[in-house]
Every structure is written in C-alpha cells, then in structure tokens.
Amino acid sequence: MSTQTEAKEAATNKGTFEPKIIAFVCNWCTYAGADLAGTSRMKYLPNVRIIKLPCTGRIDTHFIIKAFEEGADGVLVSGCHPGDCHYTSGNYHARRRFAMFRELMDFLGLEMDRLQFSWVSAAEGAKWTQVVDDVIKKVQKLGPNKKFAGLKHD
C-alpha cells in the first residue's frame, strides 16, 4: 500500500495522477443511465469502477469505508431520483443513511470532494458522464487519498 501511495504521489507531482474512483450504483436507474451514456457514445474519463447493487437502499455505508481502505481515491454513490426507486423507497432510506454518514466523515475530517452522492436516472446518460468527470477532476485536484492511506495497518 505505502509504495502504491508513494507512486501515486510521484504521479501527482508530475500531474499524471490517475485516481481510482469506485462507483456504487443501483441496477435500475444509474446503471441503466451509464448504459445509456454508452449506447449514446458519450465520452468520460476512464478512472471510475462501477459496482452494481440492486438499489441504493442496499448500500451499507461501510462499503464506502472499505473502498477508501482498499485504496480508492474517491467514491461515487448513485441511484434513482426520489420517487423513482424501483423498490419505491430504497433510496429514501439510503438518503438518510448517506446524510448522516457524510456528516460523520466531514466531522472526522475527510475531504468531502472525495465522496459524491447523486441521483442519475436511466434517462440521464449525459448527467452520468458529467458527475463522473466532475468527481474525477475534483479528486485529481486533491491528489491521492493520503488520509486513509496514511493510517498505519502493518
């Protein structure tokens, strides 16, 4: 890990830092939205790695901690707009969990630009590309996730 981070830092200094972003997306809206971006041949930066879940309601906030611990430089969580949830209320439950989690992480001192939540519907391929590009650019500005990587664990 530590060597990994050093490499990353060297890269940032050279301005060639390629952050790793993990995106937790719901199957029905955002995953489909990302599909639409593809079928419409829209272009966005390649630093994002999608993990598909049935619903944002399934997303345990500790997935996000895991992602950071495993070396993600940023995390994007995206699902259906309120009212559109395939499971009617999954995203409402998630929304509260995310709100509290975000407050907590902010209070702990994590840079909030590393953690983006969004609603992207199956029809919003364009929005998907914008959200992804923005997160990546913000994280590129911040550089590698020093805070989590800097936590001793061996």
């Binding site: 901690i65 929304r95 509260r96 509290m100 702990l108 664990h153």
Partner: protein, 284 residues
C-alpha cells in the same frame, strides 16, 4: 430521598411486583458506588443514592446474568431512562416487565476528581418524565437541548485536516478492548459486527486503520440512537472522546429530522424511517 427509594424497593419486592431491584450500592473505593441487585426485601438498606451514581443501569435490563429475573425494577437518573425508552422502541424489553423508579438528579460527579460530569453541566432534564414512580424533585434549572452541542462547535470550526489529525491521534491509542460496547445500554447485539469474519468488516488489530474503522462503524450504529449517557467515554482506558462523535450525529438527526432519541418509545426511529422531503442538498 434514599429512604423513599428503599421503601419503594421494599414494597415492590414484598408485593412480588418485581423479582429484583437494580440499583446503586456502596463501592470499594471512596465515593464509589456500584450496581447492586436486591432480591430480598431485607437487603434494601444496601441501596444507596448520592451524587456519585454514575452507571446507566439500563445496561442490565438485557444482561444475560439477570435473565433469570423476569420482572425488574430499576433505579434511574432521568437521563438513564432515555436508554430504557430506546430499548422499548427497539423491541428489546417488555414494558410490563420493567418498573422504572425515576429519581430526580441535581447532577453527578466523577468519583476520582470530584468534578461534575460534563453531561450534567448541560443537562436538559433533571426530573424524570417517563417512569412508573417519581422520587424527589430537582430545583436545578433545565438547559435547552442545544446546550449539549456547545462543545462540538469548536471542532466544527477546525479545518478538515485539523479534525483528521485530531481523530487520528485519538483513535491511535484505542486498544480495541470494546469497553465502550460492553457498557453501552444500546449495544445489545449478541454478535457484534466486529466479530464477523465473512466478510471481515473491521480489522481486529489495534492499528490506526482498524481503530478508526471501528470508531466509524460504531458511530453509524449510534446515529439517532445514542442517548448520551457517556458510559463509553467514562470506561475508555485510551481516553477517546467518543461522545463528541455521537453528539455530532445526535445534533444532525435533531436538526434534519427533528428527532431526539429516548423521548417516546412509540416514535419512529430516524434511521429506519424517512420523509419524502428529507434534506438532500448534498446529493447531486
């Protein structure tokens, strides 16, 4: 006051209304009180009440070693009662099996230093509300609930980096004794997630990463539930200011969902309910 408490305990035991009275007794150190369990009316004089009754006895309502007593009476400070309310709300105890003796409280003191507990200086309820028997009356004026949150502002003012360094250092001393979990009246899981191995959510080693991870996990589980008894912080040998974290979330839950834990057992718990217009300005 203590006589009324003892009298009530005697009554309850003699009338077989309860099988045990959970209360405070004399400890083995100066000023120290200790939890005691009275089952024989003759022993009620062992019960004590003074400004050093620190423990939140609610933790014993679900404690395995007291399972054998179906009906329990419990002596509680007004703030402790909130834990019972949470337990009721979370389906952990039956109302009819608990007799709450709420005792008015002017504030408690640390038995080592003799100083008032921080939580008592910002107390918003010196007299018991939710209980079966009220004892005594406190003349100490109640503060508004917001007074509790005064001390987190300082940290909210810090820069993220300062906050990170603060917490990193604080948790770096954690030895993962899980004392915080053991004394918490609301940590009642039979198998804590930290003991889960598939997947292993949290490293069991006491290194910075595992420690912070544990801190975050527990804070999330306390969101909308922690009643601020402060037992976790009192027991922590590493002196981690845990209540700060939980208080921050308590404040957010109050501000965003107008919910205060430990008030009403029939209230909708904020982390498993929602309203369609919950704030989401952080979501794009």
């Amino acid at each position: 006051m203590i006589d009324i408490i003892r009298q009530k305990a005697k009554e309850l035991l003699e009338s077989k209304k309860v099988d045990v009275v959970i209360g405070y007794g004399k400890g083995t150190l100066p000023n120290r009180t200790t939890p005691i369990f009275i089952t024989d009316p003759k022993d009620v004089d062992k019960l004590e009440w003074n400004e050093y009754c620190l423990n939140d006895l609610a933790v014993y309502l679900r404690h395995p070693s007291l399972k054998k007593y179906a009906k329990k009476a419990i002596i509680m400070k007004p703030c402790d009662v909130k834990a019972v309310v949470d337990l009721l709300q979370e389906n952990q105890i039956d109302r009819e099996n608990v007799f709450i003796i709420g005792v008015a409280c002017d504030g408690m003191k640390d038995f080592e230093s003799g100083e008032s507990l921080a939580k008592c200086l910002v107390c918003s309820g010196h007299n018991p509300s939710f209980c079966d028997e009220k004892i005594g009356e406190s003349k100490v004026p109640d503060l508004p609930i917001l007074a509790e949150f005064a001390d987190i502002e300082k940290y909210e003012q810090m820069t993220p980096d300062e906050r990170w360094d603060f917490w990193k250092k604080a948790f770096s001393h954690c030895i993962r004794c899980y004392g915080c979990r053991a004394v918490c009246p609301l940590c009642y899981c039979d198998r804590c997630i930290v003991e889960k191995t598939i997947p292993q959510w949290i490293s069991s080693s006491a290194h910075e990463q595992g420690n912070l991870s544990w801190g975050i996990f527990r804070a999330m589980h306390m969101a909308g539930r922690c009643i601020g008894c402060g037992e976790c912080e009192r027991v922590c040998p590493a002196g981690i200011p845990l209540t700060l974290l939980y208080k921050k979330l308590k404040k957010e839950v109050l501000e965003q969902y107008c919910y205060e834990p430990g008030k009403d057992p029939d209230a909708e718990a904020p982390m498993c309910h929602f309203t369609k217009n919950d704030s989401e300005d952080f979501i794009r």
